[in-house]
């Protein structure tokens, strides 16, 4: 049985790195999708 648990060490660094990348790319994707509405 596969056990999934978030790594205990360096939790803050891992969270910061992954959250930063996901947040920036998501914001850019939403901006691309809706930018023609922003400029109307």
């Amino acid at each position: 049985m596969l056990e999934l648990s978030f790594p205990s060490a360096y939790r803050g660094y891992l969270f910061a790195a992954y959250a930063l990348v996901i947040a920036v790319l998501s914001i850019y994707a939403f901006w691309l999708h809706y930018r023609d509405r922003f400029y109307r």
């Binding site: 360096y10 891992l14 790195a17």
Partner: protein, 236 residues
């Protein structure tokens, strides 16, 4: 044979043909990236030296690789713009500069976040880090030149020359860890030697690479298509 492909060089035809595949491209890339990140954080065993900190590799390495390969793609487009003045390639080059700039900044940021626990510092003037910073500056310069020059043809020409000048930086970034003594570790996957990671650690990285390839293509085409639509509306 070339005649059947020639219409694809026209922006309208290109976007019409590729449009139906865009949603699939985004959906598959999100699926692969979600699987890759889940495996990277929860399934892959910790590294024997770096422990759990090494898991940053699964986003840092694809970001670094695609910040460079996007630059290579942009340079090919820039060459087409400079020699043949192709509109489609100008739109693709502009879009590639935008996502490449974001990737280069994220590479530096994730590298700093990895460097702090492993090296004890957020930044070093190491050759690998500095050459990646130069790549980000080239991207920034290209975007600023496009935004500040009013005539689109002139802006495309200046941006193309800048893009072609920056190509010399790509081998310097890639081989910097081989050519000079560097604190940065050597290439894990794309070096001159066989991969140094075991299979249990490599497979999520391969998922991330394919996911990043698809999402980069989506970002570039989505941006270029949006710019084309906005210009067409202004022209009307």
């Amino acid at each position: 044979m070339f005649d059947s492909w020639k219409p694809l060089l026209t922006p309208r035809v290109f976007y019409e043909r590729i449009g139906p595949y865009m949603s699939w491209c985004l959906a598959i890339s999100i699926l692969l990236l979600t699987l890759g990140m889940t495996a990277a954080l929860f399934i892959v065993p910790p590294d024997y030296q770096q422990g759990d900190a090494f898991r940053i590799l699964y986003i840092h390495v694809p970001l670094a690789a695609f910040s460079m390969s996007t630059y290579a793609f942009m340079s090919v487009c820039a060459l087409c713009v400079y020699v043949w003045k192709l509109k489609l390639h100008d739109q693709l080059a502009h879009a590639a500069a935008m996502i490449g700039f974001i990737y280069a900044l994220l590479t530096l940021a994730t590298g700093s976040i990895w460097g702090k626990p492993m090296w004890g510092t957020w930044w070093l003037w190491d050759v690998r880090l500095t050459s990646e910073l130069v790549l980000a500056l080239f991207y920034g310069g290209i975007l600023i030149s496009r935004a500040s020059i009013k005539r689109p043809d002139d802006a495309a020409r200046v941006a193309s020359v800048l893009a072609l000048l920056g190509v010399v930086n790509l081998p310097i970034i890639h081989f910097s860890v081989e050519w000079w003594h560097s604190l940065h570790q050597k290439s894990t996957l794309l070096g001159l030697h066989a991969p140094t990671m075991p299979l249990s650690m490599i497979w999520p990285l391969l998922l991330m690479f394919v996911g990043f390839f698809l999402i980069t293509a989506w970002f570039i085409i989505k941006h270029a298509h949006g710019s084309y639509k906005m210009r067409s509306q202004i022209a009307c």
